[in-house]
Symmetry: D2
C-alpha cells in the first residue's frame, strides 16, 4: 500500500493493558498551571524506569475546570492501579501541592477511586478542612500562599499503552518535521498522550541484547548508520527513523490518535522526504491490542 | 532592617551539603534540546520523593556546546554521589537517549567521574563505537534517527542544597509577581537551580506533625488562612507567602542567587505589595551552611 | 446585579461595523507558522494608527489546513474592504511570503474576493505558476527555500469591531489575573480576536481632550491614581481597571466571546479581588451594535 | 575556501547607514513585557513597507531595568531619524502605552534625543505628572490600571542595516535547522536584531523585475525549483536556500553577529546538509558597508 508516495507497511502496533487516570490542575493563569503540570509529568516516558507514563493531555478553558480557573488536564498511566496510586500521590504531592496558586481535581468520573488529596491532606497538620459539594469531597489544605484545594480521590480506569508507528524519512530533519506535524494533529485527539519528550522517540528497541544483563537493546534493523553491518530493514534512501508512542484511555482512542498522526505524515508525503511508515510489535503474542496500520487508514 | 518599605527579617536560610553535576544536552534546535531537558529534570523538586533535585540552568549558545549545536545545561543534585549516579543514568537514559536528535555531554570539568554514557552505550548492542577526542571518551550509539553521541562520564562535585528565602505580600497575585521577578533575576546567576515548579514553592513545611507517621507538615505559622487558630508569625496585612529554594554548586553561588532574588523583590518593594522577607531554617543545627539575609544584602 | 460578589454594571459595549478576513498560514511546524503569524499581526491594535486590527485566531490541526501542514488562522479587521486589502497585501507580503517554509490560504469561503496572492505572485518575476484545484486558484511563487504557495484571493466579509468590557479589581495583579483567565476562555471562541497585546488594554480612552489637537484622552473617570482630582467612577476599593476589546466576524461571535470572558471573571469573583465589571460606550449613538452586559449574562 | 565541508563564497554583504534606537519595556512579569514588545516590533521586517525594522534584542534582568522589574530591550531601525521618531511614537503609543502593567524607558544613553513619552504624555489629558530623576525626565501618565511610566526621550544613533548571509543546504528542513542554530548564536550578540520572522528570510530578491512597476523580484539565481529555466547559481545538490538579515548599531556589531551565525552554520557543516554559504550585495556601489565573509571568518 502506497499513499502519497509513502509505503505503508502491512504491520501492526502491539499494545498492552494499563491503568490510567486524569488529573485537572488549575492555577492563577495558564503559565502556572503548566509549570505544575510539566513538573508532575516530567521524567515519565516509560513505566519501567520512571514508575509511570504521563503527559499533558490538553488545555482546559476556565469553564471546564471545577474552580473556574485556567487549567490543564494530565493523564498518568501505570501497569497496575496500585503503582499508579503511588505515583499520583508522589507526583501531585511534590509538583502540584508545592506549586504556587495551584489546585488539583479528579479528571475521570467513575472508575476505581484512588487517593488524590486523601493522604496529601495530612500535610495540613490537622488544620485542613473538608468540603462536600455535589457528592464530591474536597480538602482545603492551608499552605503559605493560601490554600491547596484538592479533591479527595480521582478514578482509575483500564487503559491501553504502547500504540505506536514509525516514520522513515530521507534525513533526520525530515523525519523530525513529519513527526512534529503528526504530534500537532495527535494532540487534538482526546484521551491520549504521547509520553516521550516532545512526543517522539528515536531509540526504538528490540527484545534481547548480546549483553545478558540487558533485556532490550537498540532496534538495529531500523538504525541507518549500521545498515551495512546488520540485517537492516531499511532501504538505501532511508536516512532516519523516528517513532511515536501512544497511550490512551481506550483502544479507540489509540486508534484515533494513530489515524490522526498517520494522516498528517502521509499528507506531507514523499515530497517532504517521507518514504515509509511502519509499526512496532513483538510478533503479536505479548500484547492483547493490535493496531494494524492499513486497517486504521481504511477505516 | 527595612528596604524600600520591606521588612527584612534577621533570619538565615539553613542549607546542606549535596552532590551535583551538570549535563549539557544538545539537539537540532533549542526546542528539542528543551524537550529533552525538561523531561530529564521533571519530577525533581525534592531529593526525598523524587531521587534528585534538578532543573535547567541555562541556554547555551552553539559555540558553548561540544558539538556546536544549540543546547541547554541542566544541573542535578542528590544527597550522595551514588544516588546521583543512579539518577543520571536513569534520567538521561529515559529522557535524552530517547529524544530525537539529542546528544549529552559532561558539563563539569574535573570532579569525581560518574557514568554518563558509560553504561547507556550498551543499549547499542555491540554496535556502539568509542571516540577519544581531546582526552575525553565519547560513545556513538546507533539509534533509529542516527546516532546518540554521549560522553563516557561527567563529574560529580560537592554542592549546596536548600538555600531559600520567603516573600510575604499582601495578596497571592502580588506574592507571585514578586517571585516571578526574583526568578527572572536568579536565572541569570550561573551554577544554581530553583528546583520547584516555575522556581517557586508555596508549601513551606515545619519539622514534625500531629500525625506520627509524618516527619514534616505545613508551616502553619506562615499560613495566612489559619492565622486566627495557630501561633502565626504573620501580621494582619500579609495575605500570601511564597518561598524560593536554591541549590547551587557552591555556597557563593547560592549567596549570589539569593542576593539577586532579594534585590529584585526589594526593588518592587512595598509599592508592589511586598511587606516582608524572611528565610527558613531548623535552628541552625542541622545544616552547615547559613545564609543570613541581612549579611547577604550588606555584602 | 451582583454575581459571585462582583457588581455587574447596567452598561453596554458599543461596537462598529468593520470588514474582516481570515488567512491561514502553514509552515513546516507550528513554531514557524506562529513566527509568520505573529509578525503579520503585530503592530495591529487599532485601525487608526496601525491600519488594521489583527491577531491569531487559533491553531489549526494539519487536517484543517489546505496543504496538510501545521498552521494557524489569523483574522484581520479594517474599516473598509479597500483598506483591508492594502493591509493584507502588505502584511502577507512582508511577513509570510518572507518567512521560511510558509504558505498562505484563504480562510473565508465566500465574501468579497480580495487579493491574497494575486499581486504577490509578481514577485516571482514571471517564474510563478498557477494551479487551479477544486475551483480555487493558487500560485506557486519560486523563492530561495523552494516555493511560496499562496491562494489567489481571500474573502472579505462584514464584521463587528469594538466589543469590550472592563474589569475593576482591588489591585493591578488581581485585575491582570482576572483578565488572563478571561482571555484563556475567550480564545476558545471561534471568529474573534482580542487585538491588544496579550488581549488586554489598560489605557481606556474618552472622546476629547483638553489639548485641542487630540481627539481622545485617558478615561480619567476610570483611572485609580487620580481618583481624588477628577469625577471618578471608581469606588475606594478599586485599585486597577483593565479592558478587553473584541473584534468578531458577527455580533453573535462578539457576544459569545464577551459571555465567555464575563463568565471567567465572575467565576473568580470577589474572592479573587474582582469588584465590578463595566463596559465602554459613547452613549450609544455612534456604534450600531450594543452589547448589554446583563443581557449577555442572562442569555 | 571550504570549512567543515561547506564552501564559503568569496562574497560580501552590502549594508547601509540607518538610524536606530533602543527602548526598554518593563512589566509585572516577563510574559507581559514580551506581549508589549512583540506587538511593538511586529510587522517590522523591512523599512519600505513597514516603516521600520524592529525586533527584540534581549531579555533584561530586573537589575538592568530602570524600575527594577523584568523587561526586554527592543531595537528599532529606520532610514532617517524623522521616520524613526514617527514609528517610535506610534508603536510605543499603540503597543506599550496600551499594554497592562508596562513602562517604557530610553535604552540608549546619548544620541540625538527623540520623543518617547514627550508626546504620549498628552494622553494623560493634563493629569500626567513629570518626574526628574538623575538628570532624566519621566512622565507618569494616569491610565486605568494605574500609571504608565515613560521616559521623556530616547536617543537616536547612527546604525547599520542590511548585513546578511545565505545558507545553502541540501533540503529545506536542513537549511532551516542550520539557520535556527545560527539565530540562537546571533541572539547572544548585543546591539543587533534579525528583523525577519524567526530571524530568517527565504524570499531573497534581486533589483528589478520583468514587471516595470516592480523594483525588485525573486532572486531567481538562488531559487532551486527553477534551476533549469534560469541562470542559476545553485549546484545540483542545493535544494534550499535561506538568508539571515542583520541590523546593528555599528558595523562591528553586524560583523560580530555575522561571525556568530557563520560559526554556528559551519560547525553543523556538510554532515548536517549545509553545502555553501554566500552573501547578498548590489555590486558594492549602493551600500557603504561591506562585510566580506572570508575576512570575517579569518578575523
Amino acid at each position: 500500500m502506497i499513499a502519497n508516495g509513502v509505503l505503508i507497511d502491512d504491520e501492526f502496533a502491539e499494545a498492552f493493558p494499563m491503568k490510567a487516570t486524569r488529573v485537572i490542575i488549575t492555577a492563577q493563569n495558564l503559565q502556572w498551571a503548566y509549570n505544575a503540570a510539566h513538573a508532575a509529568t516530567g521524567f515519565a516516558t516509560s513505566v519501567i524506569a520512571c514508575g509511570c507514563e504521563a503527559g499533558v493531555e490538553r488545555e482546559l478553558a476556565p469553564e471546564e475546570t471545577p474552580d473556574g480557573r485556567p487549567g490543564v488536564a494530565i493523564l498518568l498511566f501505570a501497569m497496575s492501579g496500585k503503582e499508579l496510586g503511588k505515583q499520583i500521590e508522589r507526583r501531585i504531592g511534590q509538583c502540584v501541592l508545592t506549586s504556587p496558586t495551584s489546585a488539583a481535581f479528579a479528571g475521570i468520573d467513575g472508575g476505581e477511586p484512588v487517593a488524590l488529596g486523601k493522604n496529601l491532606r495530612f500535610f495540613g497538620d490537622g488544620f485542613q478542612q473538608s468540603k462536600f459539594i455535589g457528592g464530591k469531597r474536597y480538602w482545603r489544605v492551608p499552605v503559605m500562599d493560601g490554600e491547596f484545594l484538592v479533591e479527595e480521590t480521582t478514578g482509575i480506569v483500564p487503559a491501553v499503552g504502547g500504540g505506536n508507528f514509525l516514520v522513515l524519512a530521507e534525513s533526520q530533519p525530515q523525519a523530525l518535521a513529519a513527526c512534529e506535524a503528526a504530534i500537532v494533529a495527535m494532540k487534538r485527539v482526546p484521551n491520549v498522550i504521547m509520553p516521550f519528550p516532545g512526543g517522539v522517540v528515536r531509540s526504538g528497541s528490540k527484545v534481547g541484547s548480546k549483553y545478558k544483563a540487558l533485556s532490550a537493546s537498540t532496534n538495529d534493523a531500523f538504525c541507518p548508520t549500521i545498515r551495512g553491518i546488520t540485517r537492516s530493514q531499511l532501504s538505501a534512501e532511508v536516512g532516519s527513523v523516528m517513532e511515536i508512542v501512544i497511550d490512551g484511555l481506550t483502544a479507540d482512542d489509540v486508534s484515533a490518535a494513530t489515524r490522526a498522526g498517520l494522516d498528517a505524515v502521509i499528507r506531507l508525503g514523499a515530497a517532504a522526504g517521507v518514504r515509509r511508515i511502519s509499526a512496532g510489535n513483538y510478533g503479536g503474542k505479548l500484547g492483547k491490542y493490535h493496531f494494524r496500520l492499513r486497517e486504521i487508514l481504511a477505516s
